[in-house]
Symmetry: D2
Subunit: 302 residues, 4 copies
Amino acid sequence: MQAGFIGLGHMGAAMAGRLVAASHDVTVYNRDPQKRRPLVELGATEATSPADACRGPVVITMLADDAAVEQVALGPDGITQSLAVGGIHISMSTISIALARKLALAHKHAGQRFISAPVLGRPEAAAAGKLFIIAGGDTAALMTCKPLLDVIGQRTITISAEPCGANLAKLAINFLVASAIEALGESVALVGKGGLDRQAFIDLLTSTVLTAPAYKTYGDLIVHQRFSPAGFAAALGHKDIRLALGVAAELRVPMPLAGLLDERFLRLLARGGNDLDWAAIGGLAGLDAGDQRTALTVSAKK
Amino acid sequence: MQAGFIGLGHMGAAMAGRLVAASHDVTVYNRDPQKRRPLVELGATEATSPADACRGPVVITMLADDAAVEQVALGPDGITQSLAVGGIHISMSTISIALARKLALAHKHAGQRFISAPVLGRPEAAAAGKLFIIAGGDTAALMTCKPLLDVIGQRTITISAEPCGANLAKLAINFLVASAIEALGESVALVGKGGLDRQAFIDLLTSTVLTAPAYKTYGDLIVHQRFSPAGFAAALGHKDIRLALGVAAELRVPMPLAGLLDERFLRLLARGGNDLDWAAIGGLAGLDAGDQRTALTVSAKK
Amino acid sequence: MQAGFIGLGHMGAAMAGRLVAASHDVTVYNRDPQKRRPLVELGATEATSPADACRGPVVITMLADDAAVEQVALGPDGITQSLAVGGIHISMSTISIALARKLALAHKHAGQRFISAPVLGRPEAAAAGKLFIIAGGDTAALMTCKPLLDVIGQRTITISAEPCGANLAKLAINFLVASAIEALGESVALVGKGGLDRQAFIDLLTSTVLTAPAYKTYGDLIVHQRFSPAGFAAALGHKDIRLALGVAAELRVPMPLAGLLDERFLRLLARGGNDLDWAAIGGLAGLDAGDQRTALTVSAKK
Amino acid sequence: MQAGFIGLGHMGAAMAGRLVAASHDVTVYNRDPQKRRPLVELGATEATSPADACRGPVVITMLADDAAVEQVALGPDGITQSLAVGGIHISMSTISIALARKLALAHKHAGQRFISAPVLGRPEAAAAGKLFIIAGGDTAALMTCKPLLDVIGQRTITISAEPCGANLAKLAINFLVASAIEALGESVALVGKGGLDRQAFIDLLTSTVLTAPAYKTYGDLIVHQRFSPAGFAAALGHKDIRLALGVAAELRVPMPLAGLLDERFLRLLARGGNDLDWAAIGGLAGLDAGDQRTALTVSAKK
């Protein structure tokens, strides 16, 4: 199947790589030409502009934030202007509800179709095809894209006929995971200062009532203060919490825990922690409790 | 094996019932004689005082709070005065660190041994022998009690040679679960008001990144506002969060999320929600967002 | 002195009225012609468009929010396109730092001058000329406008040579006042449920350590639950807290108390409290504590 | 008038000194004999035990915390055992509601009278007789003590016929002041990082809408990071917030801002800030925002 792929960061490169490996006919674009090369070596065709990646019936975007997606999709020579009538744009980035609505409308006006399909999982999962894909949009369009999505993720769950519904679900899930990180951070600080073995506590927790792999993954990162390199950067985590708070304000849903997370991320970023893993907010409670280990500071200074 | 069992509430009755069913020689006591009868019918011996339950080498307590445990263990004709030298008191209640320390000392002075062995799980799990037991205390004493603990729980994890270490771990785990409930409540309120199907969101969440059964259990309770009857009452949940905050203050570990939970529970109790399931704090976000369904209020008014 | 005045809400009408009464030559504009009339009757000249209000050397704007100011200043036939070279635009609305910067730049490019001069005080103070004016901008321009500002306020305090500095100070002060309201609300709920006379408590407080009139004003409103009609509407108060949080995020200043206020306002708005006085956030603690008086709900239902 | 005075810390010594200077017949006691001397030199009689200070019709206590007051009042040879029938115990410390109730009952059983009269003001105010006294108790007893209270404070405000009502009001006021400190800290951090002159901002604030001296005092301390020596120590401030939260939990009044303050104080204490002025919680926001000035840390390290 022919598809364009725009955005070749940690996540995007792994996802596009899987499409190429599965023998799809993929045209890749990234603003930085250096990032296109590894994919071309794998067998992808190089595009030299976003428009260039819109030759086929489907184009996928996997970019860092709203601004980047808006530029690529709605800017001059962007997707809406370049994709064929009837073509499908699959946005897999974590973007705001507002932008998802705007894109849906713009593509509709251009006679194109728009699917939101944000993913759950870190780069390792992307490389292994183990991502989960949350999909929102028209059923027929989703069916058309199934061969592509099946290669990228282990499962696609359709949550809404509106594309933006998928983005809302993604933001809510990221909020839930960040909440778990904060709770892990505070509890590890407590039991650690109280004299228990931190790792033994995480093992106890994750072998009994909170068995989800996320608790194991983030519990271990917090216990060992391994916040660098980032699987998912704190700056992006903060962006997602602020997107969730933005939609909460619009819908008038008071979310005190989301407010607490916003403040935690801001504190981390003010320390220079942009590029740490978002698990690093789970190091703040230990820091406040007097834990002298220095990963948070040292990494922040790099 | 011969054992006394004091405290026959929802949890205690189920736990004692398993010991009887496993042919241990169990003497049961509860302040309310009515609660002793079902166990006696199953084959237990009835004790008419706490002292009366201390005839054998081991006595187990499973009571509602610090005050009850202190009264039974250290009061006139309490366990310290009644148990044989060398005897073992296994405290399975969720009590404060301070009381666990006090009990350990009192039993030591009386030539007895003390084990803290709080449990993880709700009444259904207790009845099915599926509890997890967090143990703290002397290895030899724990070994002696193994035949009893193996019947009560599916697994016993020793976290500390100090009895109070087990209580600290238990409090920290309950804090983590309450945090998950709050996060579920806020996210369900958000996606629900945003137009997604709440149950589909929980299914998505619990089949992807947060697969722990606790998320499924509490997510479902929140979506359907099934807060009554309580598996674990809000008043007890609040008690545990306050115990965690108490030890955090003593150890000087700032825990902002625990502070938020304290306020949520207090709000629920001020509405008359003492006897609702502690999952009901997860209904407050929906209430604030304008969800008109009335489980929180109606149940509270009963 | 000749001046245009755009925006004739509660505040603007009172301010423009003072200019007219002091014999300045004032041309007034409001989108709703009905609101122009009372001023015209007092002696003002009616403008039929924003451009029409830009005939003189100075134009003042006093509008509800960023969107309104941006439209009037930068939109087609807006102030930047209509004001003479060398002319001064005094923005007295509470707007974002970002918009203040944008306006400063736009006016500079147009050869005009821009002053930010947000005010402190409620409509009664505006009518009595008792407002305080926080000014930011070029000294010479401020000197030129002195005759106007002296009629509007009891005092003008220059806080910064950058216009946006005045907006930052205004947002910070509103945050401080909202914090005082929240603290009053929680303390009144506490002493009231504890059996003290709420009004006697406010009298005690405001005659001893917190003597500022704001504590008296808001303490009385909270004690008597007089939240309607609004002196300053909750929706506007929320807007200001969110503007403060926005600049805090940009500057990376974690402000947990501002986050709490954001959530309080959102809860109030979700109850339908947009048009209540912002003091109504001080009624939430009483509501949560079980205070049965109904001002918050009844007013909200109107 | 004859009176005993127990507790000669910063506050107590200043208060007792005023009584001596006003020619009352004062018998002073402090556990540390060194602290009695300066008062004896001023003309006081030295007591060598609490009982020894109970020779007259009235005894005043001004001690650090509940434990100290309970020991002196209810312990062996304490006030209840030593004071004459009909004698009056005036407790001027900031103690818990629960202890105030317990003392009132104990004195009643002993045929004595009990007044709670906590004070507002820092040591300088105590020395100058500028304290405010919040009184709770029997009118006749308060009338009897008027000559003493009039020398200690500039004004006595009776808030309740129950002694504990005065303690509740005191805790609520300290909560309000601590809230103001936190709000000042966050706003100073914001405007400072935003490029405004911090002192000019405090001057603006305190000459316009928040004119209470407390804002000036604490605003200046925060701007100049003068947290040592303490007028009122952070450890004591934290104690008061926890007492307020304790009574809030008992009365079921959710107080999220009090919860935030609890966490702030705990963070400060975990840094070693026990002996800093409680204004130092107002330095945390600046610290989090990256303010490099070191008063918080340096003082904490002493």
